[in-house]
């Protein structure tokens, strides 16, 4: 491989929602040089590629940031970081105004005020939200973007980050990137579990299939403390198209009903996990399939729904048109997705302080990769990008000198990368091992197959099999640099799987149905587990750390 060394002030890994906003923030508030490394292209990469139908995190008139904290805390049954939620919530409206200035269309009334949907949501046209952000980044001073560069490992020495390593998936150039501070913004992890439709449409999933948990895996390997991987996220979606249900539930007031026409949502509760659990249970007890009741809505509502879905999940509109029946004439069947790990919806990710500093010096985290702060949605990811960006600048200004990346470190990573370019006649392909991993997680770690439930014996088997698969990755072969990226992604997912299994095993209770439903401990145990389950890799083993909740105005600071 050709090699290249780049030096920058701040390296941002991942040019999605949080990463782009961190870059804008740094550009506007300092003269620091910023480099964004993005494995696709920032114009449409990350969660916002197809667009988004609403801004789901906004403090409407008459509400306070603390109300948002309380809402998120209730939805997660207490396992959140209130300090993180509050610092995020305080910025939600400011970043929304900024988005509008950048060109996002937000619905306003005749007095120029935003029209709200419920207590926290704004109506928008979000089809082009990502191109709008990307365009602003491309115009920002001191910001360079390297598209199609896959970062696969940090350079960390004595628990301090000095940069990262990556390669161009088209150019084949091996990059050593030295940075004074690094912001990780790679998003969460999809593809750990077997998806709803594992055949031709295997990638028709809720979360971007290209978000492979790179940031989590790099942090785990480098010994960063991580939190709440056991709070998996399972989305309740329109069947087959995996399109959002919130637009139907909140937009036209569609209730969840079973095949007998009974509204069942009230029977199980209305938190995110309870809505999924209720649907699973109704199916198990023979009252499936389940639907959102849209029959009887008006023709005007039909038309608005067809358009709204084209702006975020076009497949659902196509499905309606192909069937020849609009939602007013057929209820919309719903199902739960496979589990994901995603810190923007649940609380999984890096254990950070309110500056979004991780436990590795010089490494900051924002968006879906950062833990403790669920229900971020788009605006929360922007807010965290802003906080991480400002913190990185402050950190650099507070330091006098920075270490270089050693040649030894570069050579080691180059060697470890190049080995996959030599054909060792492996029996298996990357794709086969990925499928095997998803089958293991599906069967033994609470996938769709077991209605998201698991017990300790099953987790033991999952752990053993994932470790076996990991040994098989050594002999994989990449014909080109894109396939090399696929090998990296598989290894990332396997690393994240091990942590997910360890966390699921450590929380010996069932606090959230479906999200973490341990059949050996089917009840909630507030006495022992109204706490965070954290972990850190020590000498190759995942060490579980149980921490007390940060609550009621307390502010957590790293002390070690």
């Amino acid at each position: 491989m050709k090699t290249e060394k780049i030096s920058t002030d701040v390296l941002i890994i991942g040019g999605g929602t949080a990463g782009c906003y961190a870059a804008l923030t740094i550009s506007e508030n300092s003269d620091k040089k910023v480099l964004i490394c993005e494995k696709a292209h920032i114009k449409r990469s990350g969660c916002l590629a197809a667009g988004v139908n609403a801004l789901n995190a906004y403090i409407v008139e008459g509400r306070k940031p603390q109300d948002y904290v309380d809402y998120a805390k209730k939805d997660a049954d207490g396992i959140v970081r209130e300090d993180l939620l509050l610092t995020m919530s305080e910025k939600l409206n400011e970043v929304t105004d900024r988005l509008e200035k950048l060109g996002l269309v937000i619905l306003k009334d005749k007095n120029g005020k935003y029209v709200t949907r419920g207590n926290r949501n704004l109506k928008i046209n979000g089809e082009n939200i990502k191109p709008i952000l990307a365009d602003a980044v491309e115009k920002a001073k001191n910001v360079t973007v390297l598209n199609r560069v896959n970062i696969f490992d940090y350079s960390v020495k004595d628990n301090k980050i000095n940069g990262a390593f990556g390669f161009g998936i088209e150019s084949g150039i091996f990059y050593t990137i030295e940075a004074k501070a690094v912001i990780i913004a790679t998003g969460g992890a999809a593809g750990l579990y077997k998806p709803n439709n594992p055949g031709f449409s295997r990638h028709k999933m809720w979360y971007p299939p290209f978000n492979t948990g790179a940031g989590y895996a790099m942090g785990i390997r480098a010994g960063a403390e991580m939190t709440t991987f056991e709070m998996r996220f399972i989305a309740l979606r329109c069947k087959d198209t995996i399109a959002p249900t919130g637009t139907l539930a909140q937009g036209v007031g569609a209730k969840q009903i079973n095949s007998l026409g009974e509204v069942y949502e009230t029977k199980y509760g209305l938190t995110t996990s309870e809505r999924v659990y209720g649907t699973v249970n109704e199916n198990q007890e023979g009252r499936g399939p389940c639907y959102l009741r849209t029959e009887g809505i008006t023709a005007e509502q039909d038309e608005s729904l067809l358009k709204a879905y084209l702006n975020m999940a076009p497949s659902q509109t196509i499905k309606w048109i192909e069937s020849g029946r609009n939602p007013s004439r057929q209820n919309v069947e719903i199902e739960g997705t496979e589990p994901y790990i995603v810190g923007g919806h649940t609380a999984s990710g890096y254990w950070v302080d309110t500056d979004r500093a991780t436990t590795i010096e010089g490494l900051f985290a924002g968006g879906d990769v950062a833990g403790g702060c669920p229900q971020k949605y788009v605006t929360g990811a922007l807010a965290e990008g802003e906080i991480a960006g400002l913190s990185a600048v402050k950190y650099i200004d507070s330091k006098e000198s920075f270490e270089k990346i050693s040649d030894e470190d570069t050579n080691y990573h180059l060697r470890e990368t190049e080995k996959y370019l030599t054909d060792r006649h492996s029996l298996y392909t990357t794709e086969q091992l990925e499928e095997a991993m998803q089958t293991v997680m599906d069967s033994y770690a609470g996938g769709i197959k077991t209605n998201y439930r698991f017990n300790e014996k099953q987790l033991d088997i999952a752990d053993c099999k994932i470790r076996q698969l990991e040994t098989l990755t050594d002999d994989l072969y990449a014909e080109d640099f894109q396939e090399l990226m696929y090998i990296c992604e598989l290894k990332e997912r396997l690393t994240v799987c091990k942590s997910v299994i360890a966390h699921l095993r450590a929380r010996k209770e069932t606090r959230w149905h479906s999200f973490a439903e341990n059949l050996d401990y089917p009840e909630k145990d507030d006495r022992n587990f109204n706490k965070y389950v954290n972990s850190r890799l020590e000498n190759g083993e995942i060490k579980i750390i149980i921490r007390d909740l940060v609550t009621g105005g307390e502010k957590y600071e790293h002390s070690n």
Binding site: R44, A49, I124, N125, F200, K204, A308, L310, K319
Partner: protein, 104 residues
């Protein structure tokens, strides 16, 4: 869930290749675009909106209930038109004014 690219319409501008969030689109020896990994498409339709030659269509896989319709978009000023062509040739067009917000 995937796309098909009509090579006879492709003008080789590489915009689709550039924008794909999965880097799934490549160009052949004649500079024409093709999807190298059709099963890995997320269905985000980014490439379709980029294509100035309307050479790319999006369809639902039969495993998720697809019935053979093909979809592409055309843009005129603020109007983004979605054209859904059913297998027997009927085309349904939905216009969206990008300056107007979703109602829901």
């Amino acid at each position: 869930m995937s796309i098909v690219i009509d090579k006879s319409k492709c003008i080789g501008c590489k915009k689709c290749r550039n924008v794909c969030p999965g880097s799934l689109i490549k160009t052949d020896e004649n500079g024409k675009a093709y999807i190298k990994y059709p099963k890995d498409c997320w269905g985000c339709t980014s490439c379709i909106k980029e294509c100035p030659a309307y050479a790319i269509s999006f369809f639902l896989g039969s495993d998720i209930g697809g019935m053979g319709s093909k979809v592409h978009t055309e843009k005129n000023g603020d109007i983004l038109s979605w054209l859904i062509e059913k297998p027997h040739g009927e085309v349904i067009k939905i216009d969206i004014n990008q300056k107007e917000s979703n109602k829901y």
